[in-house]
Symmetry: C2
Subunit: 307 residues, 2 copies
């Protein structure tokens, strides 16, 4: 790794390789479907200039119903109002953003959905890292949540004892649906604006982001492997489809990444690939007392320590 390259360039290179690494891992375990790739340029999107991305989608697999892994590297000028929201002065300001973002929706309700994102941003004079990963089970197995968390905790602890508790808590707070009074899933890590105002050393933070990106397969695929042959019926499938409704509610009502993409005239189909292929909303659905469905819902009402 040459230090002659800027952090912005090295981040983009990292995220490209993380994308390839994760797609390979997902294809291997799916065994049937392959990722399709769409390379896109902002210049093709209504005259927006600067950069583009590579959207990779796997649909209709034997394990994964819809999995999207996006890479993007864009630059341009950000509108004054939006810049102010991100901590810049209220004026038009140049920005640069690169990241990888993924959402994986398995077909089976016995396998959790997961999301991850790591990004590097420059806005005027400021630059920062953001990112994280969280998991959304339907039929929660405690050991899966513990595996997911402990993989990430292992990486955190190599860098700072402070990272895991801080970023775990941030994740619980971020992926929260106030109108449902529950978290989106069993959490994971979340961090943002690292290096923007906190004096963090971004050169020292870069390898941490790299390790998280490259460990994603290790934290998720063993869970897929042990749940993918678990039998399920219509009732379990129905519960999954209803829970996916909460996923859509979070992404459209609250997710900053989604709103950032829409407000910066991002590529819509790449942003909204996070939405599941099939979703149900029933009026006042109920779960049976003592059921596994109820266990999930109760668990999501209060963040838990998994490690």
């Amino acid at each position: 790794m040459s230090t002659q390259q800027s952090l912005a360039e090295r981040s983009a290179e990292l995220f490209r390789s993380v994308q390839a690494h994760i797609c390979d891992g997902l294809e291997a375990i799916d065994g049937k479907a392959r990722f399709k790739s769409d390379e896109w340029n902002r210049a093709d999107l209504g005259g927006q200039k600067g950069g583009g991305g590579l959207t990779r989608i796997l649909a209709g697999g034997s394990v994964f119903e819809k999995a999207g892994v996006n890479f993007s590297q864009v630059q341009g000028t950000m509108a004054a109002d939006f810049a102010a929201k991100l901590g810049a002065p209220r004026e038009e300001v140049p920005f640069y953003a690169t990241g990888v973002s993924l959402v994986i929706h398995p077909f089976s309700p016995m396998i959790p959905t997961t999301h991850a994102n790591w990004r590097f941003l420059q806005l005027g004079e400021k630059q920062w890292f953001g990112g994280g990963a969280d998991m959304t089970p339907y039929y929660l197995e405690d050991e899966d949540a513990t595996h997911f968390h402990s993989t990430m905790k292992g990486i955190c602890d190599k860098y700072s004892p402070d990272y895991y508790p801080r970023f775990k808590k941030w994740c619980d707070e971020y992926f929260y649906l106030p109108h449902r009074q529950e978290t989106r899933g069993i959490g994971g890590l979340f961090f943002d604006y690292v290096g923007r105002d906190d004096g963090a050393d971004l050169e020292a933070f870069f390898p941490f982001v790299r390790d998280l990106g490259l460990a994603f397969t290790e934290q998720y695929l063993p869970i897929v492997a042990r749940r993918k042959d678990t039998p399920f019926g219509e009732e379990q499938k129905k519960f999954q489809l209803l829970r996916r409704g909460r996923y859509v509610e979070f992404n459209l009502l609250y997710d900053r990444g989604t709103h950032f993409g829409l407000q910066t005239n991002g590529r819509i189909e790449s942003i909204l690939m996070s939405l599941p292929a099939v979703v149900h909303w029933d009026y006042c659905p109920e779960v049976l007392p003592g059921s596994r469905e109820e266990y999930l819902i109760k668990t999501l009402q209060k963040p838990r320590e998994w490690v």
Copy 2:
């Protein structure tokens, strides 16, 4: 109609009777399913005091997959930030709101979805009416759009030649998805804040709102009647499910009514009954040139005069 009753009370009474009238009409044409009723009190919703509502839902009918018709009459104290957004001083302020709100999702893609809402609000010293109705077809028949619009235009013209053009345009602007660069459907009427700052006579506006509410069945049910036996296949159904995704996107990303309900701790299941029962999101779905699907999409890209 006694003038001893306040406009707030008479509005609530009107909206209750509009709800009953519309539910009767929908049940008659469905012929199979009946509306279920949930009476709720804000006092039961986490200690919020003041009023409540009657949520009526018809699910799994022969014509209607999910139809919700809500009545509510609530009062309380609005948070300073939210009050400021609605034009009041930035301080806690008492509010009163009553309205009827409906969303009808037929099973067949050959029948349009429709939404309507009429409401009366008091916020501190101010009071106003808001409301409207719009229609979202999947397989657009021009004559249906014309019928929908001309029924409402007939009512508008009885009150003011200015109403139809003004409220029709407002509807096209309101039900717009900027990220998709299309309107939600073929429009209808939309108005808000009538009487708040424009000096409108609310006593004179009340019968207009009443006429709109009572004419809803006349503007929508003839369309249902002539399309409900039109055959369709999997391809048409699939297109409907994808288009419903746009409906969800609008309601969660942009709809003021949804955000108002969520921010005032409304009854979540009554607010989100607007979401369709089954929704699909595919990555980059395509339509054939010259197809009816393409005709719909092109029509939604530019508001049209239907009368």
